[in-house]
């Protein structure tokens, strides 16, 4: 990570210089042009400008929103992938963007995984249906960047994104984060568990579910991470988390059903280990289930997702406009309304632009104080441990 930061500084500095250089050059050129012939200079300036607009910029700040919108409108469409409408409020994000800029969005394969997103970039190269923008897990973002799947782009607010949540080379930028939580259907489970330890109690027999198998779902891996932190493990050692689920299974509390909105609403998965923003959203969407979201007191594990632009995007301008929208206050608040913590959350709180109601809808900020994020190596190690140990210890 360190060398990326160095690179970032260097890169931004050079860009800044270049930008200033180009602008002053342009000014000088205009002055010179005006001196020579008054009639031709506006046309020449316009032509120069048009030339500049052919290629989408590297830095969002170099152009006005209007110019972005105009270029994106020419492309007339934006392709997104793997954005479930009930995930982090992406439904509202998509409809607001479409309405605000008058650009229709094609949303492909909402339930696709990060691996499938990168695969779509690879296999749909040159196809007008290829995704323009991606929302992938960090390890996939790093792989995708190294493989050259993404385009470099610094959104206007890039600098305000916390250092640990962005790629110094500008290939991807963290978008929102959440922590592992327990979504408790209080219509079925009156006694709300507070910690991972509580889940072992006999009263939770056949009641605890994960949001998928950790052999395929990154968010289920996060659940195991959280359990590990609570049971003497660490970010470097996920073993105790696997052992915890094995114990949960042997006492009969773990049900290996993949939790989905349907199972949650109907109470088939009364205690669901899932991201806080998903559980909070289920609470709002399924009032009858009376879902209470608990951040376990003994292990708080968080993770963020990343935004990236397809290097061969069929609508490169619309893709950049989408990112500008996501990192605007309006976009960030839409994520927050979906109960995830957007990347610029701290900045917006400092600027006092977050409505109180939105903050109140989240669990107590103190619960998030101990949040831990794993780095790429820790995640990779955890995955290989899960790959070898999970099927034998927890799977059948």
């Amino acid at each position: 990570m360190e060398e990326f930061q160095e690179q970032e500084y260097e890169f931004l500095r050079r860009l800044e210089e270049e930008r200033i250089g180009r602008r002053s050059l342009l000014k000088r050129g205009l002055v010179a042009g005006a001196g020579l012939t008054i009639l031709s200079s506006p046309a020449a300036a316009l032509a120069a400008r048009k030339q500049a607009l052919k290629e989408p910029p590297l830095l969002g700040r170099t152009l006005s929103l209007k110019e972005f919108v105009a270029e994106a409108k020419k492309e007339g469409r934006l392709n997104v992938i793997a954005l479930p409408p009930d995930w982090a409020n992406y439904g509202e994000m998509i409809s607001t963007f479409s309405k605000k800029f008058g650009i229709p969005i094609t949303s492909a394969d909402p339930d696709a995984s990060s691996a499938q997103e990168n695969q779509a970039v690879r296999s749909l190269k040159g196809d007008p249906r290829a995704p323009d923008v991606l929302d992938v897990g960090p390890s996939f973002a790093i792989d995708g960047a190294n493989e050259g799947l993404y385009a470099k782009y610094y959104t206007t607010n890039f600098r305000k994104v916390p250092r640990a949540m962005k790629d110094g080379r500008g290939f991807w930028v963290g978008d929102y984060w959440g922590v592992v939580s327990m979504g408790v259907n209080t219509a079925v489970v009156p006694n709300v568990p507070k910690s991972w330890k509580d889940l072992l109690k006999p009263e939770y027999k056949n009641k605890v579910a994960l949001n998928g198998s950790p052999l395929s779902s990154g968010s289920a891996v996060a659940g195991v991470f959280s359990a590990s932190l609570a049971n003497g493990g660490s970010l470097n050692n996920i073993g105790p988390g696997i052992d915890f689920f094995a114990r949960l299974k042997s006492v009969g509390n773990f049900i290996p059903v993949q939790a989905t909105p349907q199972t949650i609403a109907s109470g088939q998965t009364p205690i669901t280990i899932d991201w806080d923003y998903l559980n909070l959203a289920y609470g709002k969407n399924f009032p009858a289930a009376k879902i209470k979201t608990v951040i376990p007191s003994d292990g708080v594990y968080g993770a963020y997702y990343c935004q990236a632009i397809n290097a061969t995007a069929p609508h490169p301008w619309a893709a950049r406009l989408w990112q500008e929208f996501l990192y605007s206050d309006q976009g960030q608040l839409i994520w927050l309304k979906g109960f995830s913590h957007p990347a610029l959350f701290n900045d917006m709180v400092a600027r006092k632009v977050v409505p109180k109601a939105l903050i109140d809808a989240l669990p107590d900020p103190a619960a998030y104080a101990k949040v831990r994020f794993a780095n790429r190596k820790q995640i990779a190690d955890a995955r290989s441990t899960i790959k070898t140990d999970w099927p034998g210890k927890v799977g059948a």
């Binding site: 696709a112 995984s113 990060s114 691996a115 499938q116 897990g137 996939f140 079925v188 027999k205 056949n206 009641k207 994960l210 998928g212 198998s213 950790p214 052999l215 395929s216 779902s217 990154g218 891996v221 049900i255 290996p256 059903v257 993949q258 939790a259 349907q262 199972t263 109907s266 109470g267 088939q268 009364p270 995955r383 899960i386 790959k387 070898t388 099927p391 034998g392 927890v394 799977g395 059948a396």
Partner: protein, 273 residues
């Protein structure tokens, strides 16, 4: 013939060839290796194959026998005509009702707070989950698979049952054979090739089923197609060549089934000619 060969080439031979070559390629340098196929005999893949074969065998045999009995009961002489029509229609629908919707239907019926489970707990005072039953286990998967295996068997075996002529029974009866002797020497030998073929079909049907088991257990019970799914579309495992090796293992299992099936069928179909 040309359309058939084109179809077979693009949808059967090319993909199968791709899997076969990929199964013997190294993930690192693309060179030839036996490592992937050798890994199939290690855990956890050995368990996945054992589970898959077990679930397929159990549901193929149970589904085959139950399906045959139902088909015979509905089709034999004396059963009203409408029963047969109703049964075939129902079977046509049920045999195709699989995947996530079927899994969820069962979760809502036999899940921890499913309708039947609730009824048994409240009215009969017997919660099946307290007595070792779980829908989210191998047994659960087998029960759910039977839901589409039996109707499929009924559809496949009905024409053969239909082919048992009333005259044969009458002839054997007039020669002094009782019901057991009729079945032992006439009915069963005639049905046997079709029965065998149908069971092999059911085995393949269960062996390749993916979405139902996935929707039911989220991969909690390890089956080969689910493990392959993890390799192809998951966020965690990332080794396509091992996935292809698993697919190759499925070919091998089905190949063995065919090796057993073909000679048996050849012997038993002598009677039908």
């Amino acid at each position: 013939m040309l359309p058939f060969f084109a179809y077979a080439l693009f949808f059967l031979l090319l993909p199968a060839g791709n899997v076969l070559t990929g199964a013997f390629q190294s993930g690192k340098d693309g060179g030839f290796t036996f490592d992937n196929v050798a890994a199939l005999f290690d855990e956890p893949y050995r368990t996945a194959f054992r589970n898959s074969i077990e679930v397929s065998l159990v549901t193929a045999f149970l589904g085959g026998i139950v399906g045959l009995l139902i088909a015979y009961a509905a089709i034999r002489d004396g059963s009203p005509r409408w029963i047969r029509t109703a049964l075939t229609t129902f079977s046509g629908v049920a045999a195709n009702f699989a995947g996530i919707p079927l899994a969820f239907a069962f979760i809502a019926t036999l899940g921890t707070i499913g309708v039947v489970t609730q009824f048994m707990t409240e009215r009969l005072g017997l919660n099946p989950y307290e007595h070792g039953f779980s829908l989210f286990s191998k047994t659960g998967i087998e029960i759910v698979y039977l839901y589409f295996q039996i109707p499929l068997m009924i559809l496949v075996i009905s024409p053969a049952v239909d082919g048992l002529r009333r005259e044969w029974r009458e002839a054997s009866a007039s020669l002094g054979a009782n019901a057991f002797e009729f079945w032992r020497y006439v009915g069963f030998p005639i049905l046997f090739p079709s029965l065998l073929g149908a069971i092999v079909l059911l085995f393949g049907n269960a062996f390749a089923a993916y979405a139902t088991a996935y929707g039911l257990t989220g991969g909690g019970v390890s089956l080969v197609p689910i493990v392959i799914g993890f390799f192809l579309s998951g966020d965690v495992l990332d080794d396509p060549h091992l996935g292809q090796a698993l697919a190759f293992g499925m070919f091998a299992v089905l190949g063995v089934m065919m090796l057993i099936y073909v000679p048996l069928q050849r012997i038993s179909s002598r009677w039908v000619r």
